[in-house]
């Protein structure tokens, strides 16, 4: 009898524990891989007593398709390419954000990007991180002076020693800059010129590689230059291979940015907003900037107070003013131009 009661009590206790666990609030976020670092997420979970479920995606199209196929309320937070916020706004999937609760006054002014993150005066997303698609290289294998001139970088002097980052927008942005075309001014008429530059680039490249493959190629000496690379590519390799570095050429480079917003269908908008506020807070920004997946500059300047000198050196904190002045946001084409640019990219790869 005692055993039976003990079992009943045990079962009840287990049931209650399971119920309590199930009752713990959950937040579902569709993110880039840098948000999956536990050192970024755990402090928020502990502070709010919630579980944050994260799902990585690649490509805005894939994210929008996933959201379309999900039930309303499945997702609460979206991290999205800064140039694609307008696509999410057009699709009606982002909720307005209370501007007065966002610390944008502490941001690097160039990355607030109101024109990208808002529509008709309503803010839908906030920049959380940025960096550069530029030239990464092995300083022991190439002449650093050559890396300041884009036409020399992908000239036949370095034939077979180059890999191109496998994303057409930043690479075509670099090709545009090399041709004297501002990334914001690219039109269909410019594609012939840009295509010519990319053909030269492609002819001298050993490969066109994604993040891991490009890092591997640079780290193993398979190539000495990554066109489209930057701090996000070499920062995690810096400690073991300090000779792997990056620069912004004299012609300039392109800048990437990522934004974060709350989904309009979220059933936990308050918690989702708290998560966004945590991510753009100085502490969250410092953790996001040095995520184990990839490093990048935090949008919030106050994150500097939570970064070590060594971390700031890797991020080149003190050079940001110059870099921001010498870089342009990577191209944000409309649908028709986007199709033409992607076709040109694939055509170039198949050459």
């Amino acid at each position: 009898m005692k055993t039976a009661i003990a079992r009943l009590l045990g079962t009840t206790m287990l049931g209650l524990a399971a119920g309590a666990a199930a009752a713990q609030e959950e937040l579902n976020a569709l993110v880039w891989c840098d948000h999956t670092d536990p050192k970024l997420i755990e402090p928020f979970e502990e502070e709010h007593g919630v579980t944050v479920n994260l799902r990585e995606y690649e490509g805005t199209g894939a994210a929008l398709a996933l959201l379309e196929q999900s039930r309303p309320g499945d997702w609460d937070v979206l991290v999205i390419d800064g140039i694609d916020v307008f696509r999410a706004v057009e699709a009606g999937i982002l909720a307005p954000l209370p501007e007065d609760e966002l610390p944008e006054a502490d941001f690097f002014p160039e990355v607030v990007m109101k024109e990208n993150n808002s529509a008709d005066g309503v803010t839908y997303a906030v920049t959380e991180k940025f960096g550069y698609n530029t030239i990464s290289y092995n300083a022991e294998a190439v002449d650093p002076a050559d890396m300041q001139d884009l036409s020399t970088v992908w000239s036949d002097k370095y034939e077979g020693r180059i890999t191109i980052y496998d994303y057409y927008l930043p690479v075509m942005g670099l090709a545009a800059l090399a041709s004297g075309i501002d990334t914001a001014d690219i039109t269909a008429d410019d594609l012939e010129t840009i295509g010519g530059v990319m053909s030269d680039m492609r002819a001298n490249a050993a490969s066109v590689a994604g993040v891991v493959a490009a890092q591997t190629a640079l780290a193993t000496g398979e190539v000495d230059i990554v066109v489209g690379g930057g701090e996000w590519l070499t920062a995690v390799l810096q400690e073991e291979q300090p000779e792997l570095t990056w620069t912004i050429p004299d012609e300039g480079a392109v800048r990437w940015s990522q934004s974060i917003g709350v989904l309009a269908d979220s059933e936990k908008p308050d918690l989702a907003l708290e998560f966004v506020k945590y991510i753009v807070s100085p502490e969250g920004q410092a953790r996001l900037a040095t995520s184990s997946c990839f490093w990048g500059m935090p949008a919030n300047m106050k994150a500097g107070e939570h970064l070590t000198d060594a971390q700031k050196e890797v991020l080149r904190w003190d050079a940001q003013e110059t870099y921001l002045a010498n870089t342009q946001l990577y191209p944000a084409p409309d649908t028709d131009l986007d199709i033409e640019m992607q076709d040109l990219w694939l055509e170039t790869l198949q050459q």
């Binding site: 193993t220 000496g221 198949q350």
Partner: protein, 283 residues
Amino acid sequence: MSARADSLKGWGFAAPALLWTTAFFVVPFVVMAAMSLATLDGRTLIWGLHADNYLELAEERYLWRAVLVSLEITATVTVVSVVLAYPLAWIIAFRVPARWQRLALLLAILPFWTSYVVRSYAWLLVLAREGVVNQTLMTLGIVAEPVTLANTRIATVTGFVHFFVMLLTLTIYANLVQLSPNYRRAAMDLGANAFQTFRHVILPLTLPGIATGAFLTFVLCIGDYITPQILGGNTELTVPQVIMVQLGRRADFPLASALAIVLMALVTLAYLACARWLRIDRL
């Protein structure tokens, strides 16, 4: 009544498989076929009977070139894998003592135990300029400078062959061990030498095993995204890679579906070829 009961029982046994196939193959296939005939207006999906995607496939050089590249790589991988796997299966079946055959098969499939992605990256390192292959070639004085192997079609084919030789070894071995030794003895008795016995007796009898393995190799190879993406270095694009690009940023599901239908058509043709000439349908 009994016949009807038997019939019902038969449907009862077949029902789970039929339901499964309908839910996870037929329905998705119909949706994909319908999607391939839809079109995108900006970012709006327009359903209908549009041939735009198939016309684009015919007109855009990079698209039909992707089909050609996929076919070339798949054909090369299939042939090379068969040529390498057959002797290996033969040795295991006829030269390795029976008690060691299990161990030999285990060793043959050992690479299956590692992750496909990890294995591809491992090959990337092996074939790199500073990798084992180049170091060996240079140490032996065969080449003075490192040879470009990684990020080429050679690398893609190597990665595929490493995987599919294991698969083919298993299917051919299974076929070889089923052959009665009397076939060989009879051929020898009739005056055939070892080569003639192999050419006219053993090889024809093992064609089903080869065809099965070759067909599986074809299907798995032509639809693979990982190996060409990691090892090929995007120096040329296969159909699955182009599909991924269409989906990644633009979510162009109609064009991606049309490409997937083309892939399925190629696989169907391969099956029909096997069924027609190699009688795979009898297996």
